[in-house]
């Protein structure tokens, strides 16, 4: 059985019994982690952008 957390602005499902959260909760947790993982690509783009800034500075001022 799962209940909705009242303290959160967003509707976050929390298990009534954390030790036995039930398949629905576990499936939602898995889906949440899978979606969170998409941010890794965005983070990589940000890191690449930092490299690009350095390369541009080099090309503009030091070539």
């Amino acid at each position: 059985m799962t209940v909705k957390a009242k303290h959160s602005m967003r509707s976050v499902i929390v298990p009534a019994d954390p030790r036995n959260p039930g398949d629905d909760y576990l499936r939602a947790e898995l889906e949440r982690d899978r979606r969170t993982e998409r941010w890794v690509a965005i983070k990589a783009v940000i890191a690449i952008a930092a490299v690009a800034v350095l390369v541009i500075i080099r090309q503009v001022f030091f070539e």
């Binding site: 983070k43 783009v45 940000i46 890191a47 930092a50």
Partner: protein, 498 residues
Amino acid sequence: MTLDWAGIGSTALLVILLLFVACGAVPILATLYQFLAIPFHSVKNHYRKAAPYLPRVAVVVPAWNEGAVIGASIDRLMSLNYPVEALRIYVVDDASTDDTPDVVIAKSLQYPGNVFHLRREKGGEGKAHTLNHGITRILEEDWMQALLIMDADVIYLPDSLRKMTRHLADPQVGAVTAYIKEGSGDKNYLTRFIGLEYVLAQVAARRAQNVLGALACLAGGAQLHSRENLVAIGGRIDTTSLAEDTITTFSTQLSGRKVVFEPYAVVLAEEPQHIRDLWKQRLRWSRGNVQVTARYKNVWFRPSKVHKLGTLSFGIFWFSILWLPIAMVASSVGLIGLFLLHSELATIVFRATWIAAACTYVYTIGLAVQLDGQTGRGSWREAVLFPGFVSIVVMITAFFPGLLEVTIPGLFGLRMTEQGETAWTLFVYVWISLAMVGAWVAKVVDGTRIGRFLSPALIYLVGYGPLLCAVTVDAYVKELTKAEAKWDKTEKIGRVLG
């Protein structure tokens, strides 16, 4: 027709020196390739094949004189968000001489049917022997569906175990590992460097290994095996090597099962605060890796339909770490040789190598600090200085030519002399090798009165990577001289904050 032997010899020498410099570029490019694979983990991961699954888990905890930490570890395990009826903890007491047996027996009374005390009267043979004592006992019964191997001092975050077990719902997966995060409450410069290293080597690199299909190592403090996998690899942990975790990881994959890294299962661990302790720990790991390399000589660079340990990319990753010190020295020798023969060519290849190093450093650190923001924020100084202050200066020299040699001195009305330029050039060419010497000095003075200030200063100056390279050199020497390979346990005193 007469051959121009002098010309041929000169060209051959030039090619050899260029190959030497290329040796230094291989680890940089291998790291870059590995980290460029990380974003693909957004879509190429194991979550689609994972499913809710809470098997009966037997936790085996090797313990030798862990009285200070074992009680809290058991309490933490028993408070995991995991069905209590599906959890058993077997503490294998490796002939402890402190109060470990008393603490564990008290816990077995507090948690009847969940906590078991197994005593080895003959101890000190190493972690693998201790684990096998417990595994043999656990396999005698049918109860266990999955086995979690951990260390006595680590702390599993409440949801970590169930985030690992969900991957075992896929029968193709033999083992799962978690993110071992440096979790000391009283961090110092070294634990912050180690924390960042773990982000790079686990949270980042193991995502790439998930994508590429071959994992180098299940973390010793967090490896979950299915019963089928454990039986398939012989029902025991290898006792003939110092890298039993890596042997288990390789055995699992060689038997055709997958190994998965779960980044959201977090396990806190206490790591060394002093270089001498880190050196001892890493020497064991490095010697273990040298042994693994020899043992699997028929696996490297031999692609297989069963596993991906033999792929070109995995082989390059493995050897670029193992041979990193050799590559660094070869690179310096190549640059100095080119400087003496053909200084313009030396300048070109120096710049190319160090520009690649600078780009790789910015990208890898930039990505790592985002992947674990908490560690990134707490270790920002170590993130900036991870390659060492001097290497950053060398990168700036290569990336922004003239900035340090001409522009900045010019602001103060200064100009570098020709001899000064030559000395500076030679210094930056050999720096990467000198850095290992600097790291070794940091180890030598560690523990002395002057070392309290000099060791951290040297590590910030020469970088954390060269320290690990210096350990690897020590491992080469110890393996070549067949020095005694004894199990030196890293002392843990319960500094982890859950």
